[in-house]
Amino acid sequence: MIEFEYLLFLFLGTVLVNNFVLIQFLGICPFLGVSSYVETAFNMGLATTFVMTMTAFIVYLVNTFILEAFNLVFLQYMAFIIVIASLVQLVEMVIRYVSPVLYKALGIYLPLITTNCAIMGMALMIPLEGYNFIESIVFGFAAGVGFTLAIVLIAGLREKLQFEDVPESLQGVPITLIMAGIMGLAFMGFAGMITV
């Protein structure tokens, strides 16, 4: 039971308190790029969550049973990069097979998940924080959920913003950055609530 409670706190802590986008400023590129419509933003979030969970799963295994077992921790970056790149390829194939419409909507941002720093950051944090197998998966999943939450929230705001009279010089990216900043401030309110 204590274990379950700990995992729940880990989950909430990663989603809210240490939100990858709004607190740790990771994955800003898709956060600004694919957040025009709630639907595509949500699908992008799902794809990223899937990649993150799978990455956490594989990264833990690779790190524990190959890198640490053979004293090859210095190869972390290289190993994680090829794991992430292959997973993104896989996700791309799956999405293209299941939903060509979604594949088109995500466009260039789908292969760009490869270079999404949120995923690399998450992968590097697992050995750093010393999570065990279950914790790693929960952490990866929570990181994805946090990313989805942030991107869907800002997409909702941006959809509403289309009907508003934004000053010309602030239209587009500038106003989005301002909103992102204010959201970041709001999320700072969670700081210190959960310390895992």
Binding site: L72, L75, M78, A79, I82, S86, L90, M93, G107
Partner: protein
Amino acid sequence: MDSIFIYSVASMGLIAAILAVGLGIASRRLEVETDPRVDEVTDVLPGANCGACGYAGCDGFAEAVVEGKTPVSGCPVGGEDVSEAIADILDLEAGSTEEEVARLLCQGGDKETVSIAHYEGVKSCNAASNISILEKECSYGCIGFGDCEAVCPFDAIEMNENGLPVVDEDACTACNNCVEECPHDLFVLAPLSGKNHIRCFSHDEGKFVRGACDVGCIACRQCVKVCPVDAIEMEDNLAVLDYDTCINCGLCAEKCPMNTIDFYGERVIEIEITEECIGCTRCARECPVDAISGEAKEQHEIDQDICVKCGLCYEVCPAEGAIVKETEDKSQT
């Protein structure tokens, strides 16, 4: 030391091999049936993903072409070669596209224009254009900080010593970036075959232009009068050339008192009708100055005193060799 080396190579190789096999299997299982023609079309496209066609990248254009939503000639960068290649793939007739390049509508550089102020702000045309008074007295001309040079993705624009951008015809792909960037709208996309350009965009009155610039259009209307095909029109104190109508005869450039019109095509020096003439009378009908006379089905003749040597008769003549001309290449001078 050695063991670490071996372990590194072996472990990374192992991980990569497992992932590669996994991806290989997945790509077989999850293969999507795509129209093979789309891939073929994508292969012949330039692949610059510049978006000049209006679609998101070359893939988007390829799909639209295959679905018939856009003509095969929709790629302005690839020009005729690409549209023919696409047409081959789709078994269609290539609608011939005239290749276009960006042309500058100003030749008032630092030497030709009168300077009335000194600008010390950010070296950017778009920034400088927000100020009501510019360095040059002419408020329509080139500002000269080279925003076009900076925005050109193909390095086709270079600022010369005179402070004017020079377009490299071979490198320019008519992507429209400079046309959109220039705050004074001094760039137009014009056919590559056009050898005659009215390089001025000033709508000021002739008197003012004469004082402000050595090579500006003073709206004297001489070019409008001399043009044999009515390709030039006066619009608000400015002569504007219609590239579709222009036959590149160079008459207007010769007449222009300000040298605003830049001609570097082939100027006709001598032109006459030979015995090959079939007497179709087309040249006589087309001649703007009625210099050609002759009965139907008989050899026609050009009255050299009246002829302005525009070369229009040569263009319309259906019989090969019936009209011969001697030309002078003006591109060198």
